[in-house]
């Protein structure tokens, strides 16, 4: 059973097989058009595979939105070192719950995407790094992999093509930071998940010092569709430079929260209305976090835009990981900022000072504010400390903590002012409970 009703307005490309029973069986996947793209790709030169992915305008679905084909072309396929393929299934950006569905309802689509990635960069070994909380998915993915081996879709000389590929599952153990690609690499090597200095980028020196292709679950899952129907067809679904569809995880104050697949470029307000059934209880929209908690928030008046990477960037935010959180008029934005900061302070790995100290102090300041003990002079300091983290850390966690905070302070300053002088939170009947 699916977690939420699909919407007839969806453009189902990656999710078209969702709901077919026994999805972990390779033969079910094959009976529904699966593994044909892999067979097609075995007849293509690797450059042509990468070219198709480039033409598709597929961009990384994990959050950064980097062009996938370009990333693939960075892996030195003639390197004498072994090359590894890693799938980032450490889905932990607050607001995001789509990779879960791709693994649960169509695990072989992911396997096929990784096989094609293996052909493209001459890799013969892959790992799917799944967050520890998703234990049931680790089991399901292992069943799917076992079945793929049993039916000759993994292992030696796959389907007589001469191509070998082994695929394994690696469990995470609860750390948001490990979703950052270089921290994930340290984690898979058995260490604390601490980000690495870049360059060198993982494409050149990744897992165990070898060239590594690392993509998100949704990114790999898009690939079989691109190879089967051609990159141009996938690109045509979206907007220029923003190809295809993506799974948007709608949550928060909407009537019908859920994960829906829509083409890039879909209008945001229309999405909230037609898919989400509008804001709950007929209330007014106050703000939207467009792509996971690390994205700058948009006020209601800024939401009349289409959803693709470039438009969101122009609006001062990000499409991120597709975790769209809708916030209604009765929500305290100071509390929202505090909760987001509590998360980043908890998840900061402590490796670099601006993030470790910045997130902790910001959490304390926001807590004090929400408790009614803030001072007017704190408001600019919150913004200033956030800006001092921005771009000054090894990885994007510092930015992820800073960006939503800066936007909330700038766009909802009056809500901070409403908490001044010992006044209780105007959105709660009683003074807020201590959270930290």
């Amino acid at each position: 059973m699916l977690y939420n009703e699909p919407n007839p307005l969806e453009t189902r490309v990656l999710t078209k097989r969702f709901g077919i029973p026994n999805s972990e069986k390779a033969e079910v996947y094959v009976a529904n058009g699966g593994y044909q793209a892999f067979l097609k790709a075995t007849g293509m030169p690797p450059e042509k595979i990468i070219e198709e992915v480039k033409v598709s305008n597929l961009r990384g679905r994990g959050g950064a939105g980097f062009p996938t084909g370009l990333k693939w072309s960075f892996v030195p396929r003639t390197s004498p070192k072994p090359k590894y393929l890693i799938c980032n299934a450490d889905e932990s950006e607050p607001g995001t719950c789509k990779d879960r569905l791709l693994m649960e309802y169509d695990p072989h689509q992911l396997i096929e995407g990784m096989l094609i990635g293996g052909l493209a960069v001459d890799s013969h070994k892959g790992y799917i790094y799944i967050r520890g909380e998703y234990r049931y998915l680790i089991t399901m993915m292992e069943h799917a992999i076992d079945d793929a081996y049993a039916h000759g879709w993994l292992g030696k000389n796959i389907q007589g093509t001469g191509f070998d590929f082994d695929l394994y599952v690696h469990t995470g153990a609860g750390a948001y930071e490990c979703g950052e690609e270089t921290a994930l690499l340290d984690s898979i090597e058995g260490k604390r998940g601490v980000p690495r200095m870049k360059p060198p980028f993982p494409a050149v020196a990744g897992a165990w010092g070898c060239p590594t292709l690392l993509n998100n679950v949704e990114t790999y899952s898009a690939v079989p569709n691109i190879i089967r129907d051609g990159g141009a067809a996938f690109a045509a679904l979206g907007t220029p430079k923003n190809g295809g569809t993506r799974l948007v995880c709608l949550s928060g104050h909407v009537n019908k929260p859920g994960v829906y697949e829509i083409p890039l470029g879909y209008p945001m307000l229309e999405f909230i209305e037609k898919f989400g059934g509008g804001v709950r209880g007929g209330k007014k929209l106050k703000a939207v976090i467009p792509g996971g908690s690390s994205c700058p928030v948009l006020t209601a008046s800024e939401c009349d835009i289409i959803m693709d990477y470039d438009t969101l960037a122009k609006a001062g935010s990000m499409l991120g990981s597709g975790g769209m959180v809708v916030i209604d008029e009765d929500t305290c934005m100071v509390k929202a900022a505090l909760r987001i900061m509590r998360f980043y302070a908890h998840e900061s790995c402590g490796w670099c000072v601006p993030c470790r100290e910045g997130t902790t102090w910001l959490r304390k300041m926001l807590q004090r504010f929400h408790d009614g003990m803030g001072q007017a002079s704190d408001i600019p300091i919150i913004g200033q400390v956030s800006k001092n983290m921005l771009g000054r850390t090894f990885c994007a966690l510092g930015d992820a903590a800073a960006m939503p905070t800066i936007s909330i302070v700038e766009k909802f300053r009056e809500e901070f002012e409403a908490h001044l002088d010992g006044r209780p939170c105007p959105y709660e009947h009683k003074p807020a409970m201590a959270l930290a």
Partner: protein, 160 residues
Amino acid sequence: MTFSPALEARFAKLLTIYPEGRQRSAVVPMLMYAQDEVGCVTRELVEEVARRCGVQPMQVDEVIGYYSMLHTKPLGKYHIQVCTNISCLLTGGEELYEHAKKTLGIGNKEVTPDGLFSLEEVECMGACSWAPAVEVNYDFHHHVTCEKLDRLIEDLRKLK
């Protein structure tokens, strides 16, 4: 230390899936699977995993402090994890967590005296579109209300 045949088989496989000489990679997965059987990450387990992976016990200790799902103290038989991150917060996750504290009579990361339940306020666990969410051990529960949580706890009590 010896483990169940199923876990031994898993360990044996884990030691083969990483490149030659890179068995340190198996440390975290071994701890994750073993703590379910042992109850928590004990000193003995640390040394056993270190021995099997060919690393120093200190290298194992190093990761334990980092990963939030590795526990050095036993949890309750049913570990109730309530998410209060943004999507759950907006849909009542905080009230749910407060309710769970009252119902179970314990605070964050505490265990009931009978050892049946433990409680943890957790960060986003990837159930945002079906919030608020609770995970009991490894089972997800979506759209949880205070009443639903009470019923769940009652059912688990009966199961023992």
